[in-house]
């Protein structure tokens, strides 16, 4: 058998490369164990939704991936970079991951455009013109180009969250992390933000989303992860997750959240 054939075969059979690999990850806040033995593999282009009751460790999990929280045990590898706590590994991993927060966290003293230009200028060393072009492109993509010269405080919550998404996209990260991006929004604004996220998913972005929006999970996610008390209790393909939940804890959770 020739080398060519073998590589062809593996190319067909091999699953997509791994984007995020968490192995036996533990995390403590003082003596409190917030994550225990987390094993999670996310492949390039996958959309993962993480759900679970309040305090189950969803935010902590997603924040260990870009090291907003350091983990205390196990390993996390992001696009081949092992998070070992060295400044270079942290910086490199953060360049791979964009993040969107529940509270938007826009910079209030900068305009929408400046919010989007800052990190590309400082971190990717783009010129002013290049950064402005990138910012304009992504602001238009989240349908907010017309507001570029306003300040965050002049926009609605939904608009601010779309700016926050654009700001993260301006770094052109291959992976996007979302921590309850719609939880702080009034109901009428949730849709516009979810729509932007769905568009992003269609473009093949690797996405890890903590959210309670189960409709979004059904439409977009490849897999759903259920957490409780710092553990991953159940993880399944989206249809199986909702149709045939196995553990009682997940059944109870779904019964509550879907009424």
């Amino acid at each position: 058998m020739s080398a060519l054939q073998t590589s062809d075969l593996t190319a067909v059979a091999a699953p997509r490369p791994v984007a995020v690999q968490m192995t036996k990850v533990d995390k403590y806040y003082g003596k409190f164990k917030a994550l225990s033995g987390i094993d999670l593999t996310v492949r390039k282009g996958e959309k993962i939704v993480i759900c679970g009751p309040s305090g189950s460790g969803k935010s902590t999990l997603i924040r260990t991936i870009n090291r907003l929280e350091p983990h205390d045990g196990g390993t996390i590898v992001v696009n081949g970079i092992t998070l070992d706590g060295s400044p270079t590994s942290v910086q490199d991993v953060r360049l791979e991951c964009g993040m969107v927060f529940q509270q938007f966290n826009l910079f209030p003293h900068l305009t929408i455009l400046e919010n989007c230009m800052l990190a590309p200028r400082l971190t990717r060393k783009l010129s002013k013109e290049q950064a402005e072009a990138v910012a304009t492109k992504y602001l238009e993509r989240v349908h907010i180009g017309a507001q570029a010269h306003k300040f965050p405080s002049q926009l609605s919550g939904g608009q601010q969250q779309r700016v926050a998404i654009a700001r993260a996209l301006c770094m052109e990260p291959p992976i996007m992390l979302f921590d309850e991006p719609t939880s702080a929004l009034d109901p009428e604004m949730i849709k516009e933000v979810l729509q932007v996220m769905e568009d992003l998913a269609e473009d093949g972005m690797t996405m890890i989303c903590v959210t309670h929006e189960m409709g979004f999970a059904r439409r977009v996610a490849n897999r759903v992860v259920f957490m409780d008390q710092g553990e991953i209790v159940e993880e399944a393909g989206t249809d199986a997750f909702f149709e045939t939940p196995k553990s009682d804890r997940l059944k109870n959770f779904l019964a509550q959240i879907l009424h």
Binding site: P108, H109, T123
Partner: protein, 232 residues
């Protein structure tokens, strides 16, 4: 005494020179206190217990002692302290001006550092996290995101300190500095005209306060960029 006689004009001229000394003392003291206070304020945000403990003790001593005592300590004890640090074979002249600048710097750097702490506590944690998530390095994050917002939060307190430093400058006259108030006192004593010269000195401080208020209003508009619109 006759107004605008040669003698009178001579005293007025002396007061003008005193006012110049007061302004120099204020400018040097306040700007050094600002720079050192902000740096110390940022450094003492560290969670390191040694730094924390040292800062707690040091700041409560400095802020607990009257500024006048620190001026005296530095003026009368300054050359002994410098000889102690740099070796006894050299002698050091401590001028009242030097001691005054050093004392104002030491005292008000403490207050400014505390002001910085308060402002940082009031800044939402999400601002720091957003910078980290965007891979903005700490120094750049401080410069472009944190400090501009701290300035806005700390500005009213800074204006207060600015006024207090100005009003503390006459204390240095007690160490022999010929500032505005010292020269007003000399003129008032020599001419037996206390009202004219002390009121003239007061007018100087009032004029300076008025200028300060205009400046602070301008700065506030500038730093409230983006925030003011919410209230409008």
């Amino acid at each position: 005494m006759e107004l605008f006689s040669d003698q009178f004009n001579g005293y007025l001229w002396q007061m003008a020179q005193g006012a110049y000394v007061t302004l120099q003392l204020f400018a040097a003291g306040f700007s050094l206190a600002l720079v050192i206070g902000v740096l110390v304020g940022i450094i003492t945000l560290s969670k390191n217990i040694v730094i924390q403990a040292f800062w707690k003790v040091y700041s409560s001593i400095i802020m607990g002692v009257p500024s006048l005592l620190i001026i005296f300590l530095l003026y009368y004890g300054g050359s002994a302290m410098l000889s102690g640090i740099f070796g006894t074979d050299r002698s050091f002249d401590v001028t009242p001006f030097g001691a005054g600048v050093a004392a104002l710097t030491i005292v008000y750097a403490c207050y400014i550092a505390e002001l910085v702490h308060g402002a940082v506590m009031n800044l939402p944690k999400g601002q720091f996290e957003a910078c980290s998530a965007l891979a903005i390095r700490p120094i750049a994050a401080w410069r472009h995101v944190i400090l501009p917002q701290l300035t806005r939060l700390a500005l009213p307190g800074l204006i207060n300190i600015w006024m207090i430093v100005l009003k503390d400058t006459p204390l240095v006259s007690l160490a022999g500095l010929n500032d505005l108030v010292a020269n007003a006192k000399i003129a008032a004593g020599a001419t037996k005209e206390p009202f004219i010269f002390f009121i003239a000195a007061s007018l100087f401080f009032i004029a300076f306060s008025a200028l300060t208020l205009r400046l602070s209003a301008r700065l506030e508009t500038r730093f409230n960029r983006g925030i003011a619109e919410v209230k409008a």
